[in-house]
């Protein structure tokens, strides 16, 4: 149960930032995502699109971090949208109902279009 990190690339797109985690988002790695999202609030860049295309696996901890991120970023005056084409993740959003509360789209640009 070693603490691992997931590598997260951050890209500045002007009006928003794109976070691209690479690797599984689970209980072992989710701390990194939580830290980066916290950093976005501290940097006062709370409009964020998380691209999940390089995340092969996401469990309830990963989903929780994303949804917690949505709430925190909204409280900070921003928002979090999700760019994802992986069925497995999309299904998770559908099952839990979180897909209804967040902008989820196949591309970063489309997802960003749904940012509040």
């Amino acid at each position: 149960m070693a603490q691992q990190g997931v590598e997260i690339q951050i890209e500045n797109k002007g009006g928003f930032r794109v976070l691209r985690p690479t690797g599984d988002l689970d209980v072992y790695t989710v701390g990194s995502l939580r830290d980066v999202l916290g950093q976005m609030i501290e940097d006062q860049t709370p409009r964020v699109v998380v691209d999940l295309d390089a995340v092969p696996f996401m469990d309830s901890s990963g989903l929780g971090a994303l949804m917690g991120g949505v709430r925190r970023l909204r409280e900070a005056g921003g928002d979090l949208a999700i760019s994802c084409t992986r069925d497995q993740h999309l299904k998770l959003f559908t099952i839990t109902g979180f897909g209804e509360g967040v902008s989820i789209a196949p591309t970063v640009e489309e997802a960003a279009g749904g940012l509040r």
């Binding site: 696996f57 309830s60 971090a65 917690g68 099952i95 109902g97 209804e100």
Partner: protein, 527 residues
Amino acid sequence: MKLSLRWKIVGGFGLLLALIGLLGWVTLSLFSSLRTVQRRVFDDAVPGLVTVDEIVRSYTAQSAAVRGFLIQSQDSLLEQYRVEVGTVHVAQRDAQRLFTSDPERALLRRLINAGTDFQALVEDRVVPLADEGRRALAFSVLGQRGTPLISEIEELGNNLRELQREVVVRSESDLRSQSGQARVILLVVTVGALVAGTALAVLLPRRLSSNIQTLVGAARAIGSGDLDQKIQIKSGDEIEELGARFTEMQSGLKRLHQLAAQDRELEIASSIQRNLLQRTLPRTPGLQLVPIQRQANLVGGDWYDVDVSGSEMTVAVGDSSGKGIGAALMATVVLSVLRAERGLGAGPTRIIQRANQALKEATDPDSFTTLVYATVDFRSGAATWLNMGHPSPFVLTSSPRDGRPRGFFLEGPRNRALGWFDDPGAGQTVMQLEPGDRLVFYTDGLLEAKSPEGEIFGEERLGQAMLRLASLDCADLSEALVRQVEDFAAGKLDDDLTILVIEYQGSPLGERVVEELTGERPWHSKE
């Protein structure tokens, strides 16, 4: 520079020994120079001077003796002359041994020649003339030819003396210069030896001691629990190595502490989770219920709850997100609300709303709980449930045509997970169970179990496994299913795994329930 302690000490002592050796060598060579000078002065120059004096004196004495003999006609004076001749031969032999340089030898040769000429004059001319009684002539011959020879001898003697004096002066100068050099070398070597000795005796032990003190201090601090010691030793030897190992040891201890804390947390979480489980399940006629739960390594947030009231069995299967104590406590919150509200007679919708409210208020925004809250009437076989963001239950039935097993995930109205939305929804799924039908509730631990290759178990495998195991009774089916998932994950479960199988065995009163559902069944099959 990397140099081991051993080589530092060996090198230090080696340098000291070399300096002491040099000191000895310089001293010895100084003594040797002194000895050379002494030899040149006392064994060479001084005896040379004495011998020259003796030769010159002897020839002067010979000349005087012959003159005396000519004046006084005493044979004893002639005899004295002959004694001096013997003396001068001995002195000249000594001189030939003592004078080794070319100029000395040339002067000595000329001196001996002059002496020989003088003696030949005396023996061949002066003494025969005296014997003939011609003393005046003999005196005149001696005066004319002998006196210049004696003068030449005296002059050559002076020259030889001068050479010996030069030797003495040169030796003295050599001695002075060598002793000056020796003094400088001795000074340098002594200072070097002192510096090396001081470094060895003071600096090396002090540095060693200071570094060891640093380590002792660090060890003491580590012993008292401070694992953030910064050990900076740059000695390039074993002590630096030891410092690096200390730093590694601190990380190791930190890791151990973390692991111990995590173990403790897991123990607490596991204990909370175990306490949530019902020790005795309510039994009811017409329904068989088998729950199985496997805890993951990190303890997830799985839970279930069963209650019977009147002809209804209430079954809730849930999964609170995250791991460890956080997940276990969240499960406690949900279960407490469920049980409390149910005790107050609240219906499923209200119970769910209350649980959502409690979770939203009590937990952090990263946490949520999914669950299925079902009621099954054991008289009629009517089942109703609310699916709150949870994986769809599986229905295992048999074909009315050939009796072969059929199964499907029952996708009813889907509501949202609890703890995040203000209104999670309250859509209900209703279905009529036939005798022998089984309703399987489970958590995502089954679907998301990962193989060592990173593949997930998924709905397809789960559905296929259920159909394959359909002939087994509820208990065996549950066990076999869990075993298959565990085998798939090679025994390593990252999430809790819960499965709860309910089999409707028909009305215990032997009567068919008349209440029929009309129209479309409110779910679609993914058979």
